[in-house]
């Protein structure tokens, strides 16, 4: 056993077996894909034999295909993760072969070029970019489904798709977008930027980090495949007992959610530990950038909320497979149990999406206003207030279920209280804008768009939080429009601003302003058309998730469809801007926005361990527009103010 000298102490080092990395040299995404598919087929075949004694057919839409499909899902998850190399670490420990320094460097992707993005790589910067790409792929898929939904609703005189497929579109669009929006900011920003901003060398648990991204990748194919075997016909909330009526595609959904919930929990623990323990020297809680607070809050909320979702889907799955009857009223179960479990996730999850996006906006606005963040402590209070209240409001989704009408009073109270901390965040933004000349670049444009949408989404949210008004709006297109204003208008447009802001750090190049802005504003205009007129449809009384409706709703739906296509075009332009800039954009210096946070103080591309020397923090990073106290001009001005200017 070799040794190394650390702080003048001889420390025994593990012995290197073979080349650095060992078996990890041979494992990557493609081996994962192959072993996942193979194991899925093997498991499916074995389960099929098990059930072949009965009148089992190969028809996937029959309920008896459930066990087979479930076995395939288990096979896929185990096979894919094994093929990726997720189990190599534990097996190493069992064999007593610790990682050497060279092994760890190989795991972090040293000297592997672009191929490290296809591997189980532990470097947080690689994981961040992987998250970004995966989120963009899911967003594209969900966006495509949204176009199909609007196509159906635009042709008001006929059914373009059959109702079954239409319902699957609605459900798959919903859950795909929810997953994508949860990771689109917390993933790339949380993994790439937060450790840099903390002044850390990596995340607290680098291998857990790799595990969380590859679990996410693993969770997506079952969702997409489920469209082929009956689909998720029940909306993203898959209420029971409708859930039990659906085909085996529902197992795809449940697998996705369970795996995704594990991935989110691991990522949350990782981010929280990093923030709690690895901030740079001197970065006290009152010198921590607001983005870190936002991502931390979202991680904490995710850790609280996602287990409920996972349990609800595990129980649904056992209901389906072994008839446990948790949610089946005929056998003594309760549909309200499912609804409670689901919305215990459902509402905090909205803020898991919103808070990181809002925090990105708060982070970039001082940079582009060249002013300090207005009332930093109020921003923290806003984030903490939203997080605190968000766990107490879930039943506002259940005002009209008849579950506990008396509970409507307290839940209405807690829900309307949320407008106060959200208002804090709005004040921070407009306070930072006050009397400032802004730097007119693409990220700053996102601030205007987001605040505009946030006011509309927020005010309409107040109607929905109120039980009497909700008695009209519940289950109505008005709700759809409202949450799209929040989840898309605030979170997605904020994320687009964040992408434009961090693009130079991620890729070393500027995001093309011209193309990017055209795409952004096209999408923005399309967005207002789509969801503005959707409010009208809701007010007129159109229910959600329908594919046919009375003639009185035609005009607003036509406008919505035109708007949706406009969003699609805008998003494609924005995507083109990202792709062309990534390949051949203008080179950016390491700190193109002249920002003061630590993430911009390191070189671009960021070296393997981020900082040559770990930084020390002495102040809050929002000192813009503050004159240098030793500058002669400042001294002169101060003299004029205190003594009086010479006349």
């Amino acid at each position: 056993m070799s040794t190394a000298t650390i702080h003048q102490v001889e420390v025994p080092q593990p012995k290197q077996h073979g080349k650095p990395g060992g078996i990890m040299r041979h494992l990557n995404f493609f081996t994962g894909l192959i072993s996942g598919v193979v194991l899925a087929l093997v498991f499916g075949y074995l389960m099929n034999i098990q059930f072949a004694a009965g009148a089992q057919t190969a028809n996937f839409s029959s309920a008896s295909a459930n066990p087979t499909f479930w076995a395939m899902m288990v096979g896929w998850v185990l096979g894919f993760m094994a093929g990726m190399g997720a189990f190599v670490g534990p097996i190493r420990w069992l064999l007593g072969r610790d990682l050497t320094h060279e092994d760890a460097e190989f795991m972090a992707g040293k000297g592997q070029g672009k191929f490290r993005y296809w591997r189980f790589t532990t470097d947080h910067k690689v994981v961040g970019i992987q998250y970004l790409i995966v989120a963009m792929i899911i967003l594209g898929f969900g966006g495509l489904l949204a176009m199909l939904i609007r196509t159906e609703l635009g042709f008001t005189w006929m059914e373009v798709f059959n109702p079954d497929f239409y319902n699957s579109l609605v459900g798959t669009h919903g859950i795909a977008m929810i997953i994508a929006m949860i990771v689109v900011v917390s993933g790339p920003v949380g993994n790439f930027v937060v450790p840099l901003m903390c002044g850390a060398r990596d995340m607290a648990f680098p291998r857990l980090n790799a595990l969380s991204i590859w679990l996410l990748v693993c969770a997506v194919p079952p969702l997409i495949l489920s469209l082929l075997v009956g689909g998720i016909r029940d909306g993203w909330s898959v209420y029971q007992p409708l859930n039990s009526q659906a085909g085996p595609g529902m197992i795809g959904y449940q697998t996705t959610i369970i795996v995704f919930a594990v991935s989110t929990a691991l990522a949350s623990v990782n981010i929280m530990t990093t923030v709690l323990t690895m901030r740079a020297k001197g970065m006290t809680w009152s010198r921590t950038p607001i983005l870190i607070y936002g991502v931390f809050a979202a991680a904490a909320m995710g850790l609280y909320a996602f287990p409920f979702y996972m349990y609800s889907q595990i129980l649904s799955m056992t209901d389906r497979l072994i008839n446990t009857s948790f949610f089946n009223p005929i056998e003594g179960g309760s549909v309200w149990l499912y609804e409670n479990l689901f919305w215990l996730l459902g509402h905090p999850e909205v803020y898991v999406i919103l808070i990181p996006s809002t925090a990105v906006i708060l982070e970039l606005i001082p940079v582009f206003m060249r002013k300090p963040l207005f009332s930093y402590y109020m921003a923290i209070a806003g984030i903490v207030g939203v997080v605190g209240l968000s766990g107490l409001v879930w039943a506002h989704h259940m005002y009209m279920t008849g579950w506990a009408p008396q509970a409507n009073y307290p839940f209405m109270l807690s829900t309307e209280m949320i407008s106060i901390p959200v208002g804090f965040l709005v004040l921070v933004v407009i306070g930072t804008m006050w009397r400032g000349t802004f730097w007119s670049r693409l990220p700053m444009m996102a601030v205007f768009a987001v605040i505009f949408n946030k006011m509309i989404g927020g005010v309409t949210g107040i109607y929905l939080s109120d039980v009497p008004a909700d008695q009209f709006f519940h289950g109505n297109m008005f709700v759809t429009a409202h949450f799209h204003y929040m989840l898309m208008g605030v979170a997605l447009f904020g994320a687009m601003g964040g992408v434009a802001y961090y693009f130079p750090k991620w890729t070393g190049r500027y995001l093309d302003e011209r193309t990017g802005s055209i795409g952004f504003w096209t999408a923005f205009i399309g967005f207002q058309l789509t969801f503005g007129s959707m409010f009208v449809a809701g007010l007129q009384g159109q229910p959600r998730r329908v594919l046919q409706f009375d003639n009185m709703f035609n005009i607003s739906n036509w406008i919505s469809t035109v708007g949706a296509y406009t969003i699609g075009i805008g998003m494609l332009i924005f995507l083109a801007a990202i792709m062309s800039s990534w390949r051949s954009g203008d080179r950016a210096p390491s700190n193109p926005w002249q920002a003061q946070t630590l993430d911009w103080q390191t070189a671009t591309p960021v070296p393997l361990e981020n900082f040559p020397v770990l930084p020390v923090v002495t102040k809050l990073p929002y000192d813009y527009g503050v004159p240098d106290p030793l500058d002669p001009k400042t001294l002169e001005k101060e003299y004029d103010e205190k003594v009086g200017a010479p006349t």
């Binding site: 109702p163 609605v170 016909r233 209420y239 007992p241 009223p329 549909v335 060249r370 002013k371 207005f374 009332s375 930093y376 109020m378 009209m400 279920t401 008849g402 009408p405 409507n408 009073y409 209405m412 309307e416 209280m417 407008s419 106060i420 208002g423 004040l427 407009i430 306070g431 804008m433 009397r435 400032g436 000349t437 802004f438 730097w439 007119s440 700053m444 205007f448 605040i451 006011m455 005010v459 107040i462 109607y463 109120d466 039980v467 009497p468 008004a469 008695q471 289950g475 007129q540 009384g541 229910p543 998730r545 329908v546 594919l547 046919q548 009185m552 926005w593 000192d623 813009y624 004159p627």
Partner: protein, 285 residues
């Protein structure tokens, strides 16, 4: 040292800070403040018609047909009215930031000569107080309206599940994939797939489902309650307008959810009784 710090011997700290009213007046005279406030008022007046436009959109299909729906619309009207000042102020700051304070483009940031406003106690307190007061008002309004609606709809107050008044009409509503069935137990259990209701007579609905969760939404009457399998939920309303209205299912219930809708016929009480007799149901209670 503490003993040398005797406050009475210290001269009062000189302060050239003008009184509050004076400072407010001075602040209001600033150009940007005036402009922002003017834009706020303009946007406010532009948004004001929304109070009525929202209700007009809601009434396109013939409502409101009950006092509950009137309460709902009143709530929406008040909420719109209350949220207009804050919304238009935020929009005004956005507009003035874009066109008044303006921006500068270019590859390097504009000069660092923006005022370094770290916080402002007056702004923070005013904003917090205003938003808390508005939220408090909305909560109180909502609680009062909810109690009112609950009293009018029997929903949550009837622990016995019995109608409160003698002459109330009971209707058993059953949802199943994908039709609504209405049964009148007081009229020999007459069954219909169109909801016939008398005007000005309280109605109590016992809502349930045979299969999955549906949502019984009588659009213009302003009532909505889930139809759950294995449970009976209650709601009620007193229609006050004769006409044809809509029942829609507001909870995704499978394949033909979109087509799970029917009509409500509200008719005068006399006509209703005659109609029920003709449909085979003499009044039994």
């Amino acid at each position: 040292m503490a003993d040398t710090m005797i406050p009475s011997e210290e001269p009062e700290a000189p302060s050239n800070r003008p009184p509050a009213m004076h400072r407010l007046r001075e602040w209001l005279q600033r150009r940007y403040v005036r402009h922002v406030l003017i834009i706020t008022v303009v946007i406010g007046f532009l948004l004001l018609p929304l109070c009525w436009l929202l209700l007009a959109a809601m009434n396109q299909s013939g409502g409101p047909a009950s006092s509950i729906m009137q309460d709902i619309q009143q709530t929406i009207f008040v909420f719109t009215l209350v949220s207009i000042p804050i919304t238009s102020f935020v929009f005004a700051v956005l507009v003035y930031s874009l066109f008044g304070w303006k921006g500068k483009s270019g590859d390097t940031p504009p000069n660092n000569d923006n005022p370094a406003i770290r916080t402002n106690a007056v702004a923070v307190i005013t904003w917090t107080a205003t938003s808390s007061l508005l939220a408090g008002f909305l909560v109180v309004w909502g609680l009062v309206e909810l109690a009112d609606i609950t009293a009018n709809s029997y929903g949550s107050t009837s622990a016995t599940g019995q109608p409160k008044t003698e002459d109330a009409l009971v209707v058993n509503v059953t949802g199943q994939q994908w039709v609504w069935t209405f049964q009148y137990p007081q009229y020999d259990k007459v069954t219909s797939d169109v909801l016939y209701l008398p005007k000005d007579r309280p109605v109590l609905f016992n809502v349930t489902s045979l299969d999955v969760v549906h949502n019984f939404w009588a659009v213009e009457l302003g009532i909505k309650i889930d139809a759950n399998p294995g449970a009976i939920t209650q709601t009620g309303v007193t229609p006050n307008k004769v006409g044809t209205f809509n029942v829609r299912c507001a909870e995704l219930c499978g394949l033909h959810h979109a087509y799970m809708e029917t009509k409500i016929e509200v008719m005068p009480d006399q006509t209703f009784n005659t109609f029920m007799r003709e449909s085979g149901g003499g009044k039994t209670s």
